[in-house]
Amino acid sequence: MTPCQKISALLAATLLIIALPASTQAQSPKTQPIVLQNATIHSMAAAGTHEGSILIQDGKIQAIGTLAEIPQDAQVFDLQGFTVVPGLIDSRSTLWLSANAVKEKNDKGELNVVDAIDLWNEDWREVAAQGVTTVYVQPGNPSSLGGYGAVLCVGPQATVDAAILKGTAAAQAAIGITGKTSQARFAQIEKLKAGIKKVKDALEKEKKEAEEAKKKAAEEAKKKAADEAKAKAEKADAGDKKKGEAASKTQRVRTRGEGRPESGRGKRGRKPTPPPAKKPETPNDVKQETDEEADKQTKKETEKAESKKPDPTRELWEKILARDIPLHVEVHHSDAIQRVLALAAEFDIRIVLDGVSQAQASSAHIIESNRPAVVGPLWQIGTAPAYRADADFGWITELPKSGNLWSIATFSNLPRGSRLLRFQAAKAVAMGVPKEDALQAITINAARMLGVADQTGSIETGKNADIAVFAGDPLDPSTATRMVICGGRIIFEAPAELNSSPALSQPELPKTLPTEYAIRTNRFLNEGQFKPATIVVRDGKITQITDNSEADLQGITIFDVKDAPVTPGLVVAHSHLKQNSELTNEAESDASHLRAVDCADPSSDAAKKMLAGGFTDVAFAPLSSNTSAGIIGHVKLGHRDFVQRPDVANKFVLSKSGRNTSRFPASLTGQYQLLDGLFAGQMEKTPLYVSSAVGESLERSKRANVEKVKSGERTALFVADTALEIQSALSLINANALQAAILTSGENVHQYSDELAASGAGIILQPLNGREYDAALGRLVQTCSGKLRIGFAGESPEQIRMTAAMLVAAGMPRDQVLRGLTGDAASILKMDTAGQLSTDDRLANLIIWNGSPLNPASQPVHMVVGGKSVQQK
């Protein structure tokens, strides 16, 4: 070692000594130990599910089971009855990414998602509050080949490095996001293929060249050795000198002869191997050869310069071809899935299929290929983007049986979207995936998929302490979260009480039912409470509802569904059933005389889905584009006479959607003025060009309709979101003594809950969807629990049941929410025959569920609708 080397080695050692404690400290901070006692632990490992305690220290799980001794300084949580699971993992999230980062487009794999992480964003709080401790983020799907993704820990993070559980975890690609046709997808895959092939060929060529160069070097070395040996021999054998010279000459000639084709190829080829040493024969030849040499020299130099320039695309493909990282390909359509599978086989690379929303035709291939898949979103929140508009995840029930590695993810474009991961898993359960598999798909299997199973995903000694504690079934999103620990730090804690929907139970019912039968259940929903009851059905009509003292049920086949809940058809308190375009016309701000039911289509897809989801009674409403939007009607889905009552309420809009700068009113003052005038009998003149006779008749009709609202025959439904809008609605309600309801997003209701309760107005909640609502939801639940009647608005059963589940998880009493899905919604909107079981022949609606309607994992399994039995699949 030179002195210089010695110094640098010393320096490095010192640095290591300094750096080591620092780095260990960063990874596993010395913290107060945490003990979780007496919990039901779903370990997701060999230990299975068991009762026990967990000791957490220094960011790791130190011991599980019966703890021999609890450290004195430990923070002890008694979790008797609570359920402990590994921290949930969203294998496709956008947490901490800005909207711009999600939209960023790149086709050369130049991005690294780590560069887009914004730790100042507080969305992680809402994500943590739902038990999610780990997320995988990657460049957004507008990129066809975006770059690298990373696995991140949820929680307050000081630096981006601290947040990263695994950087450069995978590469991202997407097929069929843009371009709707299979040709477009084919072109995209071909482009991907061309990219990978180019790199593969280049690598192979380099490898070959390297081999050749090596071979040549070896040959030359051999030759040199031979020459040296010969020279030695010549020296030694001086007598045979002449003979030896002749021999060497012939040999040289022969070598040259062999070299010729090689040099010929050199002229055409890009990287010629230098011809062997030669002896110039003619001057002409010499010149040619020197020119060639010069050419080669410049070529070599440019090549060198090129190879020095970084080529991220190539680097990315090299990593994939070396099987260092997998390629996450977001792919939805069957044709593209098959092509991607073929591509992976051809190049022998690791791929993960993402999304896979329309794999009906290729599900068998996926299972056969044994390639891992991240599926989702099973629960579509809001409108689906075009590329997965026809999503059908029915095939995923095959996955648990196949042994393929698969996980469930939210695929949300919003950073806080990962908080709905439990809804995604619940949907899988509702679709028929066994609960254990669904839980695996958001814990250990997701960890395996992302290559972090050695650190997280299960509760095992030595793993990172990533743990979520729920007040009951973790796969029931209406269960509150008790606490969440990530890396040994408590990132969420709430004084949640044990509160969970009863377990799912599959009722045993024959495929065909006799003409007369009775259904006995321990859980018949009435007035928000579940009670035992027996319901007699004859010819698909409900004839009798009794408690379980079998009085006159002799001779009737009784099906005992035991704990399976039986409910009346659920009620939607406000819906357009996705008929938006038929239900809107912005021209006339006073449309008091228009009836929504006049354009109701009971055979629409939205209506069918609503019915299949257990909702039979809908308050069918016009859109909110006019200040007096029109008349809401009561529609009974699945019935022959579907319009139960055409006019249960009038809708008045005080929110922004009713304002329009193209016509009056453009302001809340204007809206108030219009409605105040309306109730006082002063009509706004119609802006349409109509004859005075028609104008007068219109005005009469409008006045007559408003009179019905004033007399209390119809409900006055006000759409109001901001505090000022709710205040204006209250003022109109109180001034005219209206029987009213407020359709609201629920963000400002807490300010006026007392006034609303005093006025007797009901609250109809808009679906919560992706908005920032968690804090607002808490306030709403705090101020309105047990005080106000609520109802739910929505366009699909999923939306409504999600809102209901979130309310329960936030602490609203279950009976209040259940009444909101049945009787209360019906009473707010004067839908007399809804929300209760009726023995009236025509109106019989009865839904048998496999779990509580508040648990999104449950679904209707048998229905009697409009006097007809409907067996769900």
Partner: protein
């Protein structure tokens, strides 16, 4: 002294907290100086408050009047003055709900309908000492509606059917210049100042001739209802005067940023002026009006009745005083003078027996820029602004 002050503050705070709990009971406030605004300041002075009204005010209130009222010592150097009155504001109006841009005139619209009592805006005005405000509809319409007089503390409307507000300025034309969409308000009239005047003149003459029914406009014309005209540039102010003469009404000029240029005209006609904010430190006000920092002083010299409106009224009065307005007049411009212009001087504006207990307590000269507001009282109820100002002062 320096050691004593924090102790005094603590005592103050403690007593104030107890007072909040029992606001109907009689409380005697004893201050260094009481600016009654109805005469010379009383120093030291005492104010007796009971049931939201002022019971007595004097340098020492006799025990017989005082009864068993709780005594609150506000400390040495403290000042009590009447709550401030803002004669023209849009504070407390919902952001996107104050202007009905689809119509040229909306004389029946009431600002009272759009007041968001729980808005931060409203709280901030209260914290800055404003206890009474005249909330007006916006200026996007030529005739925009009816102003309301409200108290900032508590949801109390003094008069929800007050002045009619019209605009002779460029605001009503602001959005109407484009001709691209014939179905939208962008082709609504007026599109220039001449149009603004035409619409106003047309409406007034129709009402006068009985061709159009509009009670608020008729009342404004025959003097039964105050008529606010928002004008800032000198020529707009002159136009307002011309129209006033033509239709024989007495306008109250609002804004008036260039009114200092035409003081002769305004004083000759005896118009009142509600001055808009001027503490911008900029050369130009709204609509590129040429600002004069002593505009209040100039109006005062010309003998014109005026008041100062806008956010942070106390700061504005200080500003006006600094550039030439007499100290007493500066305080009057945010208390008695607006009360007189709004016609509510029987109820608020001064500290006198029988008036509303709307007070502000300060720790020093009100016109000193660093003086903080200790608390604001509306109808006997005390609100303490956040203590940030006091901390900044270093006490």
């Amino acid at each position: 002294m320096k050691i004593k002050t924090p102790v005094l503050f603590t005592i103050c705070l403690l007593t104030v907290t107890t007072v909040i709990a029992q606001d109907d009971a009689a409380v005697l406030y004893s201050a260094g100086t009481v600016y009654t605004m109805s005469g010379e300041p009383i120093s030291p002075g005492q104010v007796l408050v009971e049931n939201g009204k002022i019971k007595a005010v004097d340098s020492v209130i006799p025990a017989a009047t005082r009864g068993d009222a709780t005594l609150v010592e506000l400390g040495e150097g403290s000042v009590l003055m009447p709550g401030l009155i803002d004669a023209y504001t849009q504070s407390g109006m919902g952001a996107d709900s104050s202007d009905e841009v689809t119509k040229e005139i909306t004389p029946n619209f009431r600002a009272a309908r759009s007041i968001d009592w729980k808005s931060t805006d409203m709280k901030q005005r209260l914290h800055a000492g404003t206890t009474t405000m005249c909330v007006c509809p916006g200026t996007q319409n030529v005739v925009s509606g009816i102003a309301s007089i409200v108290k900032t503390g508590g949801e109390q409307v003094v008069n929800d059917d007050y002045a009619l507000v019209a605009s002779i300025c460029s605001d009503p034309t602001a959005r109407n210049s484009s001709r691209q969409r014939p179905d939208s308000i962008y082709v609504r009239q007026p599109t220039n100042r001449m149009g603004v005047v035409w619409i106003l003149r047309n409406s007034l003459s129709k009402v006068k001739q009985g061709k159009m029914e509009s009670a608020p406009l008729a009342e404004a014309l025959n003097g039964k209802r105050p008529f606010f005209i928002v004008s800032r540039v000198a020529h707009d102010l002159s136009t307002a005067a011309t129209l006033a003469e033509e239709f024989d009404f007495q306008p109250i000029l609002v804004g008036g940023h260039e009114s200092y240029k035409i003081t002769d005209l305004i004083s000759a006609r005896n118009y009142s002026v509600i001055l808009g904010g001027t503490t911008t430190g900029s050369m130009f006000g709204p609509e590129q009006t040429e600002l004069c920092w002593n505009q209040a002083g100039i109006l005062d010299e010309a003998g014109i009745t005026f008041c100062i409106s806008g956010n942070n009224q106390l700061e504005q009065a200080r500003f006006a005083h600094r550039f030439g307005l007499d100290a007493n007049k500066a305080l009057a411009a945010i208390t008695t003078s607006p009360a007189q212009i709004l016609g509510i001087n029987e109820r608020v504006g001064t500290i006198e027996i029988g008036k509303d207990a709307d007070l502000i307590a300060l720790q020093g000269d009100p016109l000193e820029f660093t003086t903080a507001i200790e608390w604001v009282m509306v109808d006997g109820k005390i609100t303490e602004p956040k203590n940030t100002t006091r901390q900044a002062k270093g006490n």
